[in-house]
């Protein structure tokens, strides 16, 4: 062991109580930082997973029609000059099969499914209820959503076997006191059609569960009187993170408005981001305060050990040695604090993940959702390191600058 480290350890042991307090502060700061990040990242990740399973990664919607106007350069000439214009959006996808065919040539796109959506009134149990029917091709839609795992009553097979089968959201079922096997009517304008409930689903997203009903494409075409086209095409990607790039490329190819999920859910994603940042800043203050405590303790040690420092200098210990002795003290507390903080963080995160809590609204969960990410641990360690380094450096510098002659002369007189 180096002499400087040995001296640092002995000096630390002499101030056990105050150093223990600094250590505890750093441990708690690191642990809380990781736990809060795990929690916010966990919820954010779960939200993203839910929303991708409900609304897909990319959606191709309205056709973009450019309305560029032009003037003939010369009445006799065939040249014309563009004089600007605007963009017109034509609702829906007129030829979804053509676009789906084109999409199969783009690597990275794993599945696509046409969807027709509209508005209707559900008549059931002597009540009327506004719903948003989604007409789907079950086979392809199952590849672009998590519908299969969202069924909580009934089955997709029952839905598949019945051309007039219906899947309703759990909030609709509870509101209208409906269950699997019940018969209901859907009305849109003059069209009235009977359906049988094949299944009840729950996404956890309140807005979806209380208004969306799934029926087969042919059935919705009849209900909405829309024999061709689709409202949008929902797309799945191999890598969800690349949705913006794919959306841009598809937009260029198909001249349809295309949006990735990041843009679509921007508001919620920003909420989570702000939450994560603000919790990181708040918890970092715990680490900062611990650092201040350590600074105070080290300054007291420097004052307390002034004569010892002078004696060490007279023996042949350099300014760098003295500085290192104090930096070591900070370093020892830092390492112990980070390691114990990481342990506490892991234990706390695990415990938190087991705590039951019923969340419904933007996703469905019956316990705290946590994300295990090594980056949280690294960032906590980095913040603690910066704080403790600064807290140690200033007292270390002060100790190194002591003039041994002055100190010893002052002590002897």
């Amino acid at each position: 062991m180096s002499p400087n480290l040995q001296i640092a350890l002995r000096f630390l042991a002499d101030r056990k109580r105050s150093m223990l307090m600094s250590l505890t502060g750093i441990m708690f700061g690191v642990a809380f930082f990781v736990i809060t990040q795990a929690q916010t990242a966990g919820f954010e990740g779960y939200f993203i997973k839910t929303i991708l399973g409900v609304n897909g990664m990319v959606r191709i919607e309205d056709r973009i029609q450019s309305t560029v106007r032009s003037l003939d350069a010369d009445p006799e000439s065939s040249f014309s000059i563009g004089v600007g214009g605007s963009v017109k959006y034509i609702s829906g996808v007129q030829h979804p099969h053509v676009i789906q065919e084109a999409l199969t040539n783009i690597p990275g796109i794993t599945a696509s499914s046409p969807v027709i959506r509209g508005n209707a009134v559900m008549l059931a149990n002597f009540r009327e209820y506004d719903v948003k029917p989604y007409g789907i091709d079950l086979t392809s839609y199952a590849n672009v959503s998590d519908l299969e795992t969202q069924i909580i009553d009934g089955s997709l097979k029952a839905f598949s076997d019945n051309p007039y089968g219906l899947l309703i959201g759990v909030r609709i079922a509870r509101r209208l006191n409906l269950s699997v096997g019940d018969s209901i009517l859907l009305q849109n304008a003059a069209n009235l059609q009977r359906f049988r409930i094949a299944g009840v689903y729950e996404t956890g997203i309140d807005q979806v569960d209380r208004e969306r009903v799934f029926l087969h494409l042919p059935a919705i075409r009849t209900l909405l009187n829309q024999p061709i086209g689709a409202s949008f095409i929902q797309i799945n990607l191999a890598d969800p993170a690349l949705a913006p790039a794919f959306a841009k490329r598809i937009r260029q190819i198909t001249s349809h408005s295309t949006m990735g999920w990041q843009e679509r859910e921007k508001t919620w994603l920003q909420v989570f981001s702000v939450l994560r940042i603000s919790s990181a800043l708040t918890i970092s203050t715990i680490i900062l305060i611990s650092g201040l405590g350590m600074f105070n303790t080290l300054v007291m040690i420097v004052i307390d050990k002034t004569r010892e420092i002078a004696i060490l200098r007279s023996m042949g210990y350099t300014r760098s040695d003295i500085s290192r002795i104090f930096m070591f003290q900070g370093g020892i507390i830092l390492v112990l604090g980070i390691l114990s903080g990481w342990l506490a963080a892991a234990a706390g995160t695990y415990t938190l993940s087991k705590i039951p809590i019923r969340i419904r609204g933007i996703f469905a969960s019956d316990s705290f959702v946590v994300a295990w990410d090594i980056q949280h641990y690294l960032w906590a360690g980095i913040i603690a390191t910066v704080v403790v380094l600064i807290a140690s450096y200033l007292p270390a510098r002060r100790a190194a600058r002591l003039e041994p002659g002055t100190v010893i002369r002052g002590s002897s007189s």
């Binding site: 002499p3 210990y317 350099t318 002659g405 002897s412």
Partner: protein, 226 residues
């Protein structure tokens, strides 16, 4: 070769109206195996001279040579290294590190020099403590020893790296008569038998008189330079 020489040392202390010339041009030579005392009234510049010769302070003018090496222009690190290798200090207050045992205190300078193995350092420290009569107290913490015992540990520590020069500032000033005699005899014996030089500041004329040579100081000058 002299262990240490200095030529025309001058030192000012304080600043502005409080600036005083503590040394006005001191020259001397320290030979190995001899004991020297610096005597004089309070304020004559004794401790200032000692700290300059011990490279704990820098002169405003003049030169100091340690074993033939001119210390002018040396960096703080280089002067510190010279202290570590060639000098040992004994102060009025022993200044032991209380977190360390007697043995570990003696080993501190050796650890810095880093020329011996751990086992050799321990053996040498134990031997030094034996020489100063503290063989059975080597594992006691520094602050669990009596005043005289602590001063003897400080002497052993000063000898740890076999320095050419031992500098002592009132080494017996805080001890009773019996212990003071014992400590002085020990220092003198070590200097004569091990060929090391001892330079001691002392208010005690009787102890000063028992040294091989006495430098008497007054108002920053040696009265009878030799």
């Amino acid at each position: 070769m002299p262990v240490l020489t200095c030529d025309n040392l001058q030192r000012f202390l304080g600043s502005a109206e409080n600036r005083v010339q503590a040394l006005r041009g001191v020259s001397l030579s320290i030979e190995p195996g001899r004991t020297y005392a610096i005597a004089g009234h309070s304020g004559s510049g004794k401790s200032t001279l000692l700290y300059l010769l011990g490279l704990l302070d820098l002169p405003d003018k003049g030169s100091i040579h340690v074993r033939g090496q001119d210390t002018r222009g040396l960096s703080d690190e280089q002067r510190t290294a010279l202290r570590n290798e060639h000098m040992g200090f004994v102060f009025q207050f022993h200044f032991l590190l209380k977190e360390f045992s007697a043995l570990e205190n003696v080993m501190l300078p050796m650890r810095k020099l880093a020329r011996l193995s751990e086992a050799d350092m321990r053996a040498k420290a134990a031997d030094l403590l034996d020489r100063v009569g503290l063989a059975d107290k080597r594992n006691r913490l520094g602050n669990h020893l009596s005043g005289g015992e602590q001063q003897r540990v400080a002497i052993a520590r000063a000898l740890a790296n076999d320095p050419a020069l031992i500098l002592a500032d009132e080494p017996t000033g805080n001890l009773d008569h019996a212990n003071a005699d014992r400590v002085f005899d020990l220092l003198g014996e070590i200097a004569h038998t091990r060929g090391q030089a001892l330079l001691m500041v002392s208010h005690n004329p009787e102890l000063a008189g028992r040294c091989d040579q006495v430098f008497r100081m007054q108002d920053g000058l040696l009265l009878d330079p030799s």
